[in-house]
């Protein structure tokens, strides 16, 4: 739970493809577990899970430094875990317990970890886009070689903050990477109902910045793309828009069974499931021995059981946490 463990988790993902695989398995199992807890009525409120989008999360975490600030959305459990947050602090937040990363006063949509570079995650569509540009402005004004990353959904590409944020970042040549997780849906609406073009990366042309389509189901490609865009940003080359084509396996939020999806769509995407295909690749490269994947699954399951126990033992959020951080003192 301590700092050391979180940084260790981050380093593992940065340095080791098998660790990335393990983290993807962890994210999938975590999100399944969260959905189960909600279904059992053990958690109140809502939640947005990211099964199917694990390769995007680890790609970001592996390529970014902890000093590169990241903004992301309410669909943030996977990115939080990938960046190095532990299952217990995220589950604790989801369940409103003191152990949660924000002390249980924020909930599933609002994760935060300053040391790992995660700004409070945004529940307002698009808001994190200009905020990421602002974090990049700090790096530019101070002359550091940090960069910022703004992660958002396909739906966010239609809100004004997207246009204003990308335009500003472009004219000021800010060190920021914009990552659109195109999971094909905004709430219950398929992207083609809300957006007249197929590739959101095309919009980068309006701002005179590179727009690159990335296979968001392949963690090797996501790491590579984020790393390359960050390198451009750090060296003064300005912003990049990466469109990660991915798929949201679950419904939009806890109550949504996603019955609006056309028949066969999920199955087609599942054929290229990011965890299964990465596992096969690692096995064929000899990096995962026979039985190793099963061991990882068992390890992850045990880890999540321990996390759930730690959360259950943690008291509910305190009144002190509610009143404690409204205003900062000088």
């Amino acid at each position: 739970m301590g700092d050391g463990q979180r940084m260790e988790r981050r380093r593992a993902v940065a340095n080791d493809r098998v660790a990335r695989y393990e983290r993807m398995v962890e994210i999938r199992a975590f999100e399944d577990r969260v959905q189960g807890l909600f279904a059992q009525g053990l958690v109140h409120g809502t939640t947005h899970t990211a099964q199917g989008q694990e390769a995007v999360a680890v790609g970001i975490a592996a390529a970014a430094r902890p000093t590169d600030l990241v903004t992301c959305t309410y669909r943030g459990h996977g990115i939080g875990l990938a960046l190095g947050m532990t299952p217990e602090v995220i589950l604790g937040e989801i369940m409103g317990r003191e152990i949660g990363c924000v002390g249980g006063i924020a909930g599933s949509m609002h994760l935060c970890d300053r040391e790992l570079g995660l700004l409070p995650t945004f529940a307002i569509i698009g808001a994190g886009i200009p905020v990421a540009a602002g974090a990049a402005l700090t790096a530019q004004v101070r002359g550091t070689d940090d960069a910022a990353i703004g992660v958002f959904g396909d739906g966010a590409a239609n809100i004004g903050a997207f246009h204003e944020g990308l335009n500003l970042a472009a004219i000021w040549n800010l060190p920021v990477v914009f990552i659109c997780e195109n999971n094909q849906y905004g709430e219950y609406s398929r992207i083609d109902l809300t957006t007249p073009i197929e590739d959101l990366a095309d919009r980068a042309a309006s701002y005179g910045i590179p727009g690159i389509i990335v296979d968001g189901q392949d963690p090797d490609q996501t790491v590579e793309a984020v790393g390359a865009a960050l390198a451009v940003a750090r060296s003064g080359g300005g912003p990049t828009l990466l469109e990660m084509k991915t798929y949201r396996y679950a419904g939009h939020s806890r109550a949504d069974k996603a019955e609006y999806r056309p028949e066969g769509e999920f199955e087609r995407w599942y054929e290229r499931d990011p965890i299964n295909t990465f596992r096969a690749r690692l096995e064929s490269e000899g990096l995962l021995a026979a039985g190793a994947a099963e061991e990882i699954e068992q390890k992850v399951a045990a880890r999540l059981e321990a996390a759930l126990r730690a959360v259950e033992e943690s008291p509910p959020a305190t009144v002190d946490a509610m009143f404690g951080n409204i205003y900062a003192s000088a």
Partner: protein
């Protein structure tokens, strides 16, 4: 002390903060090359250069969002909103993002950004460029908000706002930009946030005002030989100086509030409710709010002047309060309108 206009006092406060802290940056529409639509950032680009003083595109949501991100990561951005109405397209960034970052990070992040916006009627800009809109921001714990009332107030409060570790909205009555006054600059000229300032002593009544209405309240107080009014410049609307106002009203037993905004849901409503609840039984008269009517700001010169409380009207209202012990009707009742 230096004699200057309020817009020059704003620029002086910005320049002094920028000299003392290299993390202070200024951006907004036409603030750099042009020195600001109201000349509130004149000379900053020349002294501090294009990295710290930037003209933005017409993107209020974008550049206020950037202020949030820049503030959370270590800068102290000061963003200018030309007319408060333009904050409407970017309110999320102030109310829902900046004001929540400290809370949502369990104190790990602070958001020391300043949003300056010009406000108010009196210059014939019509109803989309003349509102004060302070109540857009007054219901969001995590934010602070001040209202300037003249050159010293501008210099002193703006410096405190920039230094404050929280997001602070600074409301600047546009009609006061050209008004001159003596200003103490430097550390001695800094005014703390959260404290009201007594600008006139008096016995019969406590008049609480803010922004452009401070001058109006003062002129009203000066004009009466029948009663003496204590005048308070609230200065910080959020969090307002509850103790200071309550103890002042306890002394005089009467509270009059003068506001440049519509009657319904004005900042004075909050003061009236709090003081009325705290001092019930000690008050010698009901709380009187002197406000604008519930209409959009009219354009024509005479109507626009009538819309806002003026010294003669304030004096008359206080006369009636003291004579009858009851709150007088506002002027528009005489025009057959609802109180």
């Amino acid at each position: 002390m230096v004699r200057m206009r309020m817009n020059q006092a704003v620029a002086a406060a910005l320049a002094d903060e920028m000299r003392e802290d290299p993390d202070v940056v200024v951006f907004g529409e036409d603030v750099a090359v042009a020195g600001g639509p109201f000349k509130t950032s004149d000379g900053l680009l020349e002294e501090f250069g294009p990295s710290r003083v930037r003209d933005t595109p017409i993107s209020e949501m974008g550049f206020l969002g950037m202020a949030v991100g820049a503030a959370a990561s270590g800068l102290r951005p000061v963003a200018e909103i030309m007319f408060i109405e333009f904050l409407g397209v970017a309110l999320d960034m102030v109310v829902t993002e900046a004001g929540k970052f400290h809370f949502l990070s369990r104190g790990a992040f602070t958001c020391p950004m300043t949003v300056r916006a010009s406000i108010g009627a009196g210059l014939g800009f019509g109803c989309q460029h003349s509102q004060t809109m302070e109540n857009w921001m007054s219901h969001a714990p995590g934010l602070k908000m001040v209202m300037l009332s003249g050159p010293q107030s501008a210099y002193g409060l703006l410096r405190s706002a920039i230094r404050d570790p929280n997001p602070v909205v600074v409301l600047e009555p546009r009609a006061l930009y050209g008004g001159r006054g003596q200003v103490t600059t430097g550390a001695d000229g800094i005014l703390p946030l959260g404290e009201a300032r007594r600008v006139r002593e008096g016995e019969a009544v406590t008049v609480v005002s803010a922004g452009a209405m401070v001058k109006v309240a003062l002129a009203a107080a000066e004009s009466s030989d029948d009663w003496s009014a204590e005048v308070i410049d609230l200065q910080t609307l959020i969090p307002w100086d509850r103790d200071g106002v309550v103890s002042a009203v306890r002394r005089t037993g009467r509270l009059v509030i003068v506001e440049e905004s519509p009657y319904t849901s004005g900042w004075g409503t909050e003061i009236a409710a709090h003081v009325g609840a705290r001092l019930f039984g000690e008050l010698r008269a009901p709380v009187l709010r002197i406000t604008c009517p519930d209409v959009p700001v009219p354009f024509g010169r005479e109507l626009e002047q009538r819309y806002m409380p003026n010294p003669g009207y304030v004096t008359d209202q206080i006369d009636q309060l003291l004579a009858t012990g009851r709150t007088p009707d506002p002027w528009w009742v005489g025009e057959g309108r609802r109180a």
